[in-house]
Symmetry: D2
Subunit: 103 residues, 4 copies
């Protein structure tokens, strides 16, 4: 339950994109580590800022992929079942979208 | 209200919130007009900027409400029907969310 | 132009760009009014959202222009004078940038 | 030149905040690594998204601090010198702000 079966259609919306998402996150982690080195080496502020913007965009791309998967699987499934569960799922998704738009 | 059929379960997701959304948009329009006057009166840059940020936030709030309504009605309905239409609706909603996050 | 003294070196950073900024704001106001009509006409949610994103971007462009003018004139002038006034101007500009990034 | 002298008033705007910025970046790196583990453990989409929003905000805070330091030191210094260098520095800072607002 914890593993394996998930990639073959588990309970999380991003199950099918899991390895791609992990790869993107590893790259974002590398970007953040690279920014640390830039700061330690006294790299010019604007060049550091450019890399911070790039890392922020990389995380946003991950968020949008997670959200797309969540809508396509979890929310769609809840909508098919209907009722209170469906309403709760949509409210929850809207709240996550709001956090993303405002972050 | 006037478009009875719309408010009583029309074809747009925001039918039930229509008058509230129009009210918010009127307020945002008034804010933008107020910013014009501030600029014409040579108001200090930072005070103008504060109002531009406020108007931007007001539009974002409208966008988040439209999106929530769209998920709760149009996307949920398509999900219940399933098939290609459901997939297309979710892809379309994800693209709208991406535009919003990146704007 | 009409307010000669302002455009020819007024006290606001955007004095030289005033007519362009007002023009942009008028266009943004028209966009917001257009969105109201779309909502009143029960336009499809996603099409309304696309226009809200466009109006938000238009306001952001105005904000970035105001900020650029403010840095180039007010902040630069304060920096040349130095001292506490310079520090206060920079803190104030940073706060406005933060509001913009988070809005 | 590579180190030490920088922290005692070097050529980068963030020299005085260097250790704090590195600390923040290390924390952001840890957050991104934590998100990877969440994804590998099939954590619920919305909980992953909440952490992605938090990491994005952490990077934004670093960007705003770098920008503030850059304005307070590099841009202010260039403004005091005046001329083409000052203009170029301000244009460069405005471009970095635009990238940040749009990311």
């Amino acid at each position: 339950m914890e593993h394996g079966t998930q990639d073959a259609g588990g309970h999380v919306g991003y199950a099918g994109d899991k390895s791609e998402i992990v790869k993107r996150l590893k790259r974002a982690e590398g970007q953040v580590r690279g920014i640390q080195r830039m700061v330690e080496d006294d790299t010019y502020c604007i060049d550091v800022l450019t890399q911070v913007s790039a890392a922020t965009k990389a995380l946003e791309t991950v968020a949008l992929q997670l959200l797309d998967d969540h809508l396509a699987h979890c929310v769609a499934e809840a909508a098919r079942e209907g009722g209170d569960v469906a309403d709760a799922k949509i409210r929850e998704a809207s709240a996550a979208i709001a956090r993303l738009v405002r972050s």
